[in-house]
Amino acid sequence: MSHTHTPSNTSIDALPATPVSRRRFLSLSGGVAAGTALSAPFVQAQPAKIKVGMMLPATGTFASLGTAITNGFRMAVAERGGKLGSREIEYFAVDDESNPAKAPENTNRLVQRDKVDVLVGTVHSGVALGMAKIAKETGTLLLIPNAGADDITGPMCSPNIFRTSFSNWQPVHPLGKVMAERGHKTAVWISWKYAAGDESGRSFKEGFEKTGGKVVKELGLPFPNVEFQPLLAEIAAIKPDAVACFFAGAGAAKFISDYAAAGLKDKIPLYGSGFLTDGVLQAVQPQAQGLMTTLHYADSLPSKRDQEFRLAYAKQFKMQPDVYAVQGYDTGLLLAQAMDSVKGDFGNKAALIKAMEGVKIDSPRGAWTMSKEHNPTQDIYLRKVEGEQNKFVSVAWKALADPGRGCRMA
């Protein structure tokens, strides 16, 4: 989109012809003076609002994830009286359409045009990489409530970039161990061909082959294509012990449904990272029963903190929270806790960053800390679909930290 400049057409000739009487001029200027005098004390008393720019998907296959993250973030802020470190918040929002090509333009809308203090976003890893690049260049504080691109806490890591969700490497890594323990020796991996899919695939392969398993084929299709039929036929031809996958959002629901329609559900067990079943169970409940996944959150965690959070969220938004809502919530917690430690002094960037690095978040998912590369070090849970929930089964891996390969910071 290009900006059109309308040529200025004011010239001395364009001024109104009606004469301005002296009386009128004096009364007008008197009014202006009185107005500024009255408003001055109010302007001085309020510290500047913190500008929070939310860049999330409002359209497309990840739209519901964007909504959940926003809900969680706002809930965390509302719990603290709507202020961060006693400062009010002004929200700006941009729909990133999960389109990496438009990422620089959309990010600059928030950073250059709206001049936000904090940038929050996004879901799609490709878009987040674009945001991270601009954040690195401008020094804007960037909090990532979902996008798991390994590079963000790897080669692209930066003091002003923090993630409150996961790295693509993390949630799927224990899956290999889980599948090996259940006796599966060969597996086919299937996912979309983009950053999140490829990195999950590499992590799964690493984890599975460490236990002695073998990934016999890796299948992929372009994002966000959902025409799975040829690949499902290929899986049936290969006949592996099990299938592991990464899909999220509407595409995940379609995959579960197509996998069952192809008659594979009872013949070749399907596993995945938890994104396969998070937020989609209402649509594909019958076909998803019994699916086992690994993720840093589950629907029936034996934790009082989580139960309180779930009740409050359901009451406010009339739907059950999912991992995306928790990530949004934790982003709000992170910012709030850091602002409290610096007592609202947002200008002191160094102190704010140090506060965020040392943070311990009492999250509904369980307590987690920030790794050196600014990624959560957290427990990964094994879950099983029962009814419309991803029921907690066991802890698949305690305090798993992303290796942060390639990050040269701290």
């Binding site: 497309g60 192809a262 008659g263």
Partner: protein, 289 residues
């Protein structure tokens, strides 16, 4: 024998995809071949069909009724568009048609956003067809996909009959070859073009309606189909419905086998095929109908 089954199944997948592509591409090639109009908005009609299917199916509770009503609505849409916009661009430079229809794409996207929203939607497969046939001991094939293929074959036969064996078809072919002479013979070519355009719109929309349960309904679904359809029309020969069929089946098979056996090339296989055909036959495989 065990090696043959997977390949046959992929052939089935490729043909099914190709037949659906043919439905969309036939409309595109008719509009270009007979009316001389490049219609970039053709993908939007596919998307509009899918959204019709979703909203009407929710309203009537039944996909088949939704499709019938949707076809009527699409024909009306086609007639309105032709009368208000398209007819002013006959005989004009193709660039003007490109600009007009590109503008239509943008307008349709915004209208879609306003009327139906931006979420991804699913359409339920009709209960009658909602089961699978076991093809091998591991793989079952959804019956609904077979139904789609059967519908496409029926429509292909219907189009062939219409164009080759009816007076209307004869008039259409005449109008495409020589408009002035046809008009001089007393045939209302204007009405003919309106019919052809509406037919093209209805075909694309019908494809969208049939495909909605298997491909989901989402913004931008039209642009993906449009590009592939242009490839089909270029390979098949502009204006040739037979060419659109052959081209679509070739593309369907190439894309399916490419996905499975050459994953590194991914979406490129289709374009490589187009390049190969153009090297040997620049006008496409078949002449105008």
């Amino acid at each position: 024998m065990d090696h043959l089954a997977p390949i046959l199944i992929q052939v089935l997948n490729g043909l099914q995809y190709g037949l659906l592509l043919f439905l969309v591409a036939s409309g595109l090639t008719l509009i270009f071949g007979i009316m001389g109009v490049i219609n970039l908005a053709h993908g939007s009609f596919y998307m509009i069909g899918a959204y019709f299917a979703w909203s009407l199916a929710s309203y009537f509770g039944n996909l088949l009724t939704a499709i019938v009503v949707g076809i009527v609505l699409s024909v009306l849409l086609g007639l309105a568009l032709e009368r208000l916009l398209i007819r002013h661009f006959y005989g004009r430079d193709h660039l003007y048609q490109v600009l007009l229809t590109y503008g239509l794409i943008l307008i349709f996207e915004q209208l879609r956003s306003l009327i139906w929203g931006d979420e991804v939607q699913g359409v339920k497969v009709p209960e009658l067809f909602n089961h699978s046939i076991a093809l091998t001991d591991t793989l079952s094939y959804p019956v609904y996909r077979l139904v789609i293929s059967a519908a496409c074959v029926a429509i292909a036969l219907g189009l062939h009959w219409l164009i080759r064996h009816t007076r209307l078809g004869m008039m259409i072919r005449a109008g495409a070859h020589n408009r002035e002479m046809t008009e001089a013979m007393g045939i209302n070519v204007r009405m003919l073009f309106a019919v052809v355009f509406s037919l093209g719109v209805a075909l694309a929309a019908l494809a969208g309606m049939l495909a909605a349960p298997v491909s989901s309904v989402y913004p931008n679904m039209g642009s993906q189909v449009l590009i592939i359809c242009f490839v089909v029309v270029v390979i098949g020969g502009i204006g040739s419905v037979k060419g659109a069929l052959v081209g679509a089946l070739l593309i369907g098979l190439a894309d399916t086998f490419g996905q499975v056996y050459l994953p590194q090339l991914a979406g490129m296989v289709v374009y490589l095929l187009m390049a190969a055909v153009l090297v040997f036959r620049p006008e496409g495989l078949f002449r105008k109908t």
